[in-house]
Symmetry: C2
Subunit: 302 residues, 2 copies
């Protein structure tokens, strides 16, 4: 195994983790979550989105959240934006990075936004241009990169095609996201090796869900394919809209536990993150879905 | 990745999975569990133990369980035995394989059975001899092969030493067991490569716990090190006595899901196993701790 010596973790809990919570999470809690995470050393926190509050009411307070946090030098605060209106909100809130997105599955693209993959990405051109003009970082997220709920396994060529289009838009970083968590290690390695033939591996990230328990094995396969940026969510916040009651985002604690054992530096203290995981789980009244977090707490209590 | 094309799963739920259940599980349920598992195609089921019922009351009905099951040709039914008295029970019950055990940690051996590792294994000599004389298969299980609750990480050399001693006893198969689930992929690869220098890789199995969420990544690392036998427990039955409320044995459903994605043949149908996982979880009033099992059920319900 030849693995990277350093990994960047993109902590997505404040946005991707909380966005599906039905009960509105107080702005003050969101701010505290982001501040606790940045204080722990995360280099990149997916903090907010500027999507219509009609679609995602939980994220309606993005402006207030960004105004309330303590900016930690060295941390990139990212915002998901679907269009120019979202971009205006993001730039007014002084985010460091704008995240655009597109599916690698035609069926998913058609069913969800009623246009082709190519059209969906072309629509982001003005956002990408504006981000570049403003000197912001731009990240492109490829959803359904392993499979989609409508057409099953996604062809590798479709993922590579979206990656190429995102690169052409000027993306600094490109996510390969297993949105429904059905991917397994062999396929993850294949997809990552194909994507890194067209994108510098240092600019590709892996976003894995633990719905079928595969996330850490998939991260290991991605590490072996040369990937060194991973998304995760403290306490596994996020769930899975495609399988009610199932796990969604891989838990940051579990990822950090594995990386520590692999002698890979992240600059982040696992115990401090486990504490954040328990705090936020308490705040929103959920049981942590992090196995390492649960075991560490049990050991602490014993 | 060069991986084996076939893997043998040793299903341990009837013994290792149920033994810590406080509420006695009816003999009829144990029998039905074993019969359902063998009908699904498992080649090896860890069915019972013949340990003093004072120590493990849950396993007191081993004789009745073995008398009640329908023997499936091609399935090996294993029994854990601590001594000659246990062996007598096992042979009377016509088990196919006898399982002996020893820790790779001196501290664990001293604290648990008040003798050294070498002594603990020497004590199994009469059992091993009797098993060989009776033409039974003999399996040796090395507990605390990654770490122990008292002395932390286990030296690789200590694991290899126990493996050598078990080989000398005539073991047909040798388990490398991460009893407390703290192991991670890099170390698992190191231990497996070291053990397979002294034992034929085809006779080495990996027994991983998911306490820190690491089990599938560890199995992947073990596969890459040439291991092709793994232990697992349907619905993740078993828990972890060293971290209350935490996960123990890796869930068979999660392992099968990964192996299917790796194009590795097990001869076992995942959906049938998921059904067994839900049935037994209902019977004993527990929530399945299999992520794949939970997601498959959610998808079925949707």
């Amino acid at each position: 195994m030849s693995l990277p010596s350093q990994v960047k973790i993109v902590e997505v809990s404040p946005r991707d983790g909380l966005q599906n919570e039905k009960q509105f999470v107080d702005t003050a809690i969101k701010i505290e979550l982001i501040d606790r995470l940045s204080a722990t050393g995360f280099q990149n926190v997916e903090a907010v989105s500027f999507v219509s509050p009609k679609w995602v009411p939980q994220m309606a307070d993005g402006t207030q959240v960004m105004a309330g946090i303590k900016r930690r030098p060295g941390t990139i605060y990212s915002a998901l934006v679907p269009n120019m209106r979202g971009f205006e909100g993001a730039i007014a809130a002084k985010v460091d990075e704008v995240v655009i997105f597109g599916a690698a599955s035609e069926a998913f693209s058609q069913k969800n936004i009623n246009c082709s993959i190519a059209e969906s990405i072309a629509r982001f051109e003005p956002v990408a241009q504006a981000a570049r003009d403003a000197g912001l970082r731009l990240r492109g997220s490829i959803s359904c990169a392993l499979a989609c709920p409508y057409q099953g396994e996604t062809p590798v060529a479709a993922v590579v095609d979206v990656a190429r289009r995102m690169l052409a838009l000027g993306c600094d970083e490109i996510d390969v996201a297993d949105t429904i968590g059905t991917g397994t290690a062999l396929r993850v390695g294949q997809v990552m090796r194909a994507v890194t033939e067209v994108v510098d591996p240092a600019r590709v990230s892996g976003h894995f869900h633990d719905t079928y328990g595969q996330a850490l094995a998939n991260i290991l396969a991605a590490l072996e394919a040369g990937i060194s940026i991973f998304h995760s969510s403290v306490a596994g916040l996020g769930g899975c809209p495609y399988a009610k009651g199932a796990t969604g985002n891989v838990a940051t604690e579990d990822v950090l536990y594995m990386l520590r054992g692999l002698d890979i530096d992240t600059g982040i203290d696992l115990d401090a993150v486990a504490d954040i995981g328990h705090w936020i789980s308490d705040q929103i009244g959920r049981k942590s879905s992090s196995r390492a977090g649960t075991a560490l707490a049990a050991r602490k209590a014993a």
